[in-house]
Symmetry: C2
Subunit: 320 residues, 2 copies
């Protein structure tokens, strides 16, 4: 059976081979290299490579698409950290903190265009379709970020609005990555759309698990303090589920508490009493099943199929 | 003879027909519509349309390219105004002032992707070449902005470094606009490159004229206070020419003066004594001649040729 590492190694190699002209203009390109050196999972580009492997027997044709999606994703993080005024990213200082706001904006812009430039390495038969999916997904990611910012100022966000927001902000890019990989592997349009459905459902499961981990994660492995979303009154699947349930009033009172360990405990108790962990589990399972169902409609070699199913199941059961 | 207005009308029409979903997500799309409603000259897209008209007898095939370049240009203004902390743009509040920094960043990002999306309306035969030129020019524009910001902190900027900066920040996009228009009009690669040379040289002449107008413009028609660059110690063709001339020491002393009408007068006197207006005139003429020379190597119908020459000459002699 293939391993995820085989594919993430290809990505690391491709990122290294980008040859950014950092010597010529370090003020612009060093922050880009810093932003791309994530130590992250490279989930999106790995999806692109696997979809290509499954479609044509080799991941190589999808390398431009995989790299483009990873670059685009990292560009959005550079700008998100300015908009959210975040000082850290994956345990390191964010670009806007390590350099400054202007650098994060301009290096981000450059990284976004570099991503499109890399995507354009795809050959003619699939370039136009790849660009259509890539541009559409990019716009949806911006719309998701806009909704996320607007939700901060609203007290009446519904669970379905929230799900649409995370679909836009997170899931469509996973769907796009998988679809682009399939297109690069000469998949049919129908197959490419099934790959999109797999990535999109995976992304929803992933984000809900992320919300769950913030409250119920293991502090030893989670990598950041537990309860951060509660302290920041962040709209999450958990909060909005509680607000839509029988303990809504209690939840509102808890949200009015000042940030403290006591607040985290209180909210967690309400979540426990309201069956929120089970609701998370059910939603994650629903989207994971959706992802697997999309796979089942594709004709994927057994080894790869297992890898993709375990990718979905593992994401939904991860502890960090 | 054709008129510029004929072409700028096509652009206004195309901008209006964009159908941004401002009803659905006003927080993201209203700032974009605001940023695109410039009342400006639409110089870049007009160039694209004229190059197309000259190449194939109609401007229509270049509309996606023209629109894309105009949208890209306006995206850069949204972000530049954040980086430069500018509160006004063309006499109106900038997006970052009227809304906020996050809005200017995210609406700018969206506008940039929308620009690429519109460019992708070009048909296959020229799409790849158009994207190559567009992406390359975009990266150069960012590099120009980076250099511009770095120059603010340096006291040893040379005139040739300055010219390279304005080439990147301003001229390449005019070159790109003209080249994309030609490509859309099925011009050969060699013709397209001559159109690029025309636009690029025009851009250099335009920017030096802009620097000149800030000091010697007619307050009645210039639209902003005369001497702004002097008060802000902004590196311009005039300042760097003076610093490279015999009155460099006097110029340095004048630059050390506090911002005042007296400072403007003093600097202008040094410019006058150093022959700077003539140096501007010579440089503008040099680049205008370069632009016309590129035209002369193209086989352009007489009426259009005259329009393009007068466009170059008028830009170089404008008073606002």
């Amino acid at each position: 059976m293939d391993t995820i590492n085989k594919y993430s190694d290809i990505i690391e190699q491709a990122v290294k081979s980008l040859q950014l002209p950092a010597d010529r203009l370090p003020g612009l390109y060093e922050p880009i290299a810093y932003g791309l050196d994530t130590g992250g999972k490279r989930l999106r580009p790995v999806l692109a490579l696997i979809a290509c492997q499954a479609s044509c027997g080799t991941p190589d044709p999808a390398i431009p698409a995989a790299l483009a999606v990873e670059m685009f994703h990292n560009f959005t993080l550079l700008h998100d950290d300015v908009m959210d005024n975040s000082d850290t990213r994956r345990g390191k200082p964010s670009v806007q903190k390590k350099w400054d706001v202007s650098t994060a904006i301009l290096s981000g812009d450059t990284l976004a265009t570099l991503a499109t430039q890399v995507l354009c390495r795809l050959p003619d038969p699939c370039l136009r379709k790849a660009l259509e999916c890539f541009n559409k997904s990019a716009i949806e990611v911006y719309e998701g970020q806009q909704l996320d910012m607007e939700f901060e100022k609203r007290s009446d966000v519904s669970l379905s609005e929230y799900l649409e927001m995370i679909r836009l902000k997170t899931s469509v890019l996973l769907g796009c990555a998988a679809k682009l990989g399939a297109l690069a592997g000469a998949a049919t349009d129908m197959e490419a759309d099934l790959w999109y459905a797999y990535g999109e459902a995976l992304g929803l499961a992933f984000q809900i698990q992320d919300d769950w981990l913030d409250v119920y994660g293991d502090p030893a492995t989670f990598g950041k303090p537990i309860g951060g979303d509660i302290l920041n009154d962040k709209k999450t699947f958990l909060m909005l589920s509680a607000l839509a349930g029988p303990n809504a009033e209690m939840m509102k009172q808890a949200m009015a508490m000042p940030a403290s360990e006591e607040k985290i405990k209180t909210v967690r108790r309400i979540y426990d009493d309201s069956g929120i962990p089970q609701a998370c589990h059910n939603a994650i399972e629903k989207y994971t099943d959706q992802a697997v169902k999309a796979l089942d409609n594709l004709n994927i070699a057994p080894g790869l199929y297992e890898l993709l199913v375990s990718l979905a199941r593992n994401l939904a059961n991860r502890t960090k």
